[in-house]
């Protein structure tokens, strides 16, 4: 018996540019960015004042039961799973929840709640911390709360691998379904903006404007100067083709293959090599890809390394886009949101242009889609996810049939 195919039957994107599959598709087609001056986390002392911040987001719209407290990242995850279930038209009372998997990724976990808890420790001492906050400060708080809320008692894995976290969750869900060890997995990731995160990004010189110039999110552009942080969540409903067919689910796309590798050292060349190997593993010898959703986010070195890796794998070129300028670098959510982007591209038959890219950097040898979206038949799209520490994941998506 051949291994099951892995199909995507629902998607729940939560981004600053749009919430839900339709809003995301609209934002991609219109090239409408959600990056703007921050409102929720003012932090006027920081150089960076813009972010892909969800404004006007109210988790209550997505909750089955009221909650007394949720970390921001848990809120985003709750919204994403609720939207994914609705999009998949999946009634959980009709599935075996004891085997339904939940595999998510996050780079920063519940950092804001950690900060709130820790502030009491600093200001008032250890006996006056708020005990209720501590269980909400774990990296696995969001994933475990989702399992509890929806009764998802099957395989439960939280990846904390930085910028590839949700892509690894998707890769692992793919492996479990292919191996016949699961037939339904909710996979994706979430990350929230918080003051310690923004502070850390500035200290580490990762956020635009790392060069002190204007803030911008310009992947592959000569003027790129770091990334603009964003927040969001993306959860996809992955099913074996049999399970999806049995319930007559519409198929939004298929996860055809996945590859992962990493840089052996901290050099840009090693990152390029690792990413090229991840793409080659996902492609398994074929180069028949209609477009690439790149991980590129405006980081000077990483964008160039990804561009060179793309040239290695596609010597004759391939159209490349990046959704990062729409909602910012969402870290643990990025891979899942990039897969959601690929699904929207299949549906619209267009490759979105890379927003803000006007002066293509010759050091980034890619066929970037610039200016206007490109209408083109799309059958197979490759999605990259990269962590700055050197880990790469590449996911090959096929159009649903």
């Amino acid at each position: 018996m051949s291994a099951p195919r892995v199909v995507i039957t629902g998607v729940g994107p939560v981004t600053a540019a749009g919430i839900g599959r339709t809003a995301l598709a609209d934002a991609l087609v219109a090239g409408r960015s959600g990056i703007r001056p921050r409102a929720r986390i003012a932090a006027p002392g920081l150089r960076a004042q813009t972010a892909g911040e969800l404004q006007g987001f109210d988790v209550a719209e997505y909750l089955e039961t009221p909650k007394t407290y949720l970390d921001r990242s848990s809120e985003l995850a709750f919204a994403a799973l609720s939207l994914a279930l609705e999009d998949a038209n999946l009634d959980l009372s009709t599935v075996d929840k004891s085997s339904a998997g939940l595999m998510l990724g996050t780079a920063y976990g519940s950092l804001e709640t950690m900060a709130t808890f820790y502030a009491d420790l600093l200001d008032k001492g250890p006996r006056l911390v708020k005990p209720v906050l501590f269980p909400h400060s774990y990296a696995n708080t969001a994933i475990s709360l989702l399992a509890i809320e929806y009764g998802l008692a099957g395989p439960h894995l939280l990846f904390t691998s930085g910028g590839v976290a949700s892509a690894q969750a998707l890769l692992t869900a793919f492996d479990w379904i292919r191996a016949g060890r699961a037939s339904l997995v909710f996979a994706g990731g979430m990350d929230a903006l918080s003051l310690p995160l923004l502070t850390g990004l500035e200290l580490a010189g990762l956020a635009s404007p790392a060069d002190g110039g204007p803030e911008r999110c310009t992947p592959f552009d000569r003027a790129r100067n770091g990334y603009v942080p964003g927040e969001g969540a993306g959860i996809l409903v992955l099913e074996s083709d049999h399970a999806a067919a049995a319930r007559g689910a519409p198929v939004l796309g298929e996860l055809l293959a996945a590859g992962t590798a990493a840089a052996a050292d901290g050099s840009s060349l090693a990152l390029e090599t690792g990413l090229a190997r991840a793409m080659a593993l996902a492609l398994r010898g074929s180069r028949s890809v209609d477009a690439v959703v790149a991980a590129a986010n405006g980081s000077p070195a990483a964008d160039a390394a990804e561009a060179r890796a793309l040239r290695r794998v596609f010597p004759t070129g391939v159209p490349v886009t990046s959704a990062n300028p729409l909602w910012g670098e969402t870290a643990g959510a990025a891979g899942a949101l990039q897969v959601a982007t690929a699904l929207a591209m299949f549906e619209s038959g267009t490759i979105p242009a890379i927003l803000n890219l006007t002066d293509a950097d010759p050091a980034c040898p890619v066929q970037a889609v610039m200016g206007a979206p490109r209408a083109v038949p799309l059958e197979r799209v490759l999605v990259n996810a990269v962590d700055a520490g050197g880990t790469a994941v590449s996911l090959l998506l096929g159009k649903g049939t």
């Binding site: 420790l121 850390g200 200290l203 052996a264 190997r277």
Partner: protein, 395 residues
């Protein structure tokens, strides 16, 4: 295998302390505990990075240093990476709190109370430990960080096993690590699951667990890859399971339903009948709810056979090493397979009628164990279990 623990800074010292039942619980010294409700914990003492890593790891967070030292011991024993293809080597690490001491500097700075650097931000990052392990040995295969509360270490071993059997890696490093810090200690104290003096798993008067720190590392390798390079296995990984109670953030499920389910999943994955298991290295935290529900879960899964399975919890001696707990418990399980002796569950005084199984109380026990199940659980309702089997003619 490699260990950094409160009872030993390498596998040999750790194992001999376990067999002697020598406790690693002492008053904490890293930070003042006068204002805390609890002051005794399992701190790693006398630790320094081994010389080959001393320079490269000096600016790593302490938790990551624990992991690097355990990794050095494990990779040296395995003879890896040696001349193996660097791209064939995966790294899987797991933790609850990551580089928390660096993280606290970042949190304090963001709160306007103290300095922090970009290095602190990087060292707090959960993936940084995996990057550091991989770079120290130039491993370029899949690189994964996991965080599943106190089931983390077992989940990392299981995920490493998955990467090898799916062909994504020829060998995979599986590690768990965590360090104690004011953030961690204040939070765990507030949870009210700790005892003041000793961990007494399965004892009628058990009062809670005591948290500790350190790291554990195991190398999972494809059998053919090991044979070709002339390496002899320490044991075989047969199967694993990982799930969630889907019940409550901090309370265990009724009658240990999720724990029972994860042990059944591990048995199914291993293709084993329950009667094939002849030892369980239990989660055994020493809290009232865990030990009774875990015992109920074992009873439910193993039925009549349950009473014939010797069960132990090494948390009585090493404390609860959080993200490293599953890793060091798997290491103890491997050593039991190899040496035919089960380390004791120490501090036992009085039988609990609700914990009615065969626990190896107070004294180590000779037992020719062939198949061991190591069980873990954690906050949020995470569970993981792994099954290991003795290999004849092992190294």
């Amino acid at each position: 295998m490699g260990v950094v623990s409160p009872v030993g800074l390498n596998v040999a010292d750790f194992w001999s302390a376990l067999l002697r039942g020598e406790s690693g619980i002492r008053p904490l010294t890293r930070f003042p505990t006068t204002d805390y409700a609890f002051s005794a914990g399992g701190e790693v003492r006398g630790f320094a990075l081994p010389p080959p890593l001393a320079a490269a790891g000096a600016d790593a967070d302490l938790a990551t240093q624990f992991m690097l030292a355990a990794a050095a011991e494990a990779l040296r024993q395995a003879g890896l990476p040696g001349t193996s293809d660097p791209a064939a080597g995966a790294v899987v690490v797991s933790t609850n709190f990551g580089g928390i001491l660096a993280g606290e500097r970042l949190l304090a700075h963001a709160h306007g109370k103290g300095p922090a650097t970009g290095r602190d931000f990087a060292e707090y990052g959960f993936q940084t430990c995996a990057d550091r392990v991989a770079r120290a040995w130039a491993l370029a295969g899949p690189r994964v960080s996991l965080s599943l509360s106190c089931a983390s270490g077992t989940a990392a071993l299981g995920h490493a096993f998955d990467l090898v059997r799916s062909g994504r890696a020829a060998f995979a490093f599986a590690g768990g690590y965590d360090a104690l810090s004011p953030f961690v200690w204040s939070g765990l104290s507030a949870l009210r699951t700790m005892a003041k003096d000793a961990v007494r798993p399965f004892d009628r008067n058990r009062a809670g667990t005591i948290f500790s720190e350190g790291a554990g590392a195991l190398i999972v390798e494809d059998a053919g890859h090991a044979r070709r390079r002339g390496a002899r296995p320490l044991c075989e990984v047969l199967g694993y399971g990982v799930n969630n109670n889907a019940f409550h953030m901090t309370a265990p499920a009724k009658e240990g339903a999720g724990s029972a389910q994860v042990m059944r999943a591990a048995l199914a994955d291993a293709g084993l009948a329950p009667a094939a298991v002849d030892h369980i290295n239990a989660h055994g935290t020493g809290t009232k709810p865990n030990d009774v529900t875990e015992s109920q879960a074992i009873q439910a899964v193993f039925g009549e056979h349950a009473a014939r399975i010797p069960i132990t919890s090494i948390k009585s001696t090493v404390g609860h090493m959080m993200g490293a707990a599953g890793s060091v418990e798997a290491i103890a399980s491997v050593l039991t397979l190899r040496e035919g002796v089960i380390p004791p569950t120490t501090n036992f005084r009085e039988r609990d009628p609700e914990c009615a199984l065969d626990y190896v109380f107070n004294e180590k026990r000779a037992a020719a164990v062939t198949t061991v199940l190591s069980n873990s659980a954690g906050i949020g309702g995470c569970n993981a279990a792994v099954i290991l089997r003795r290999v004849e003619g092992a190294a």
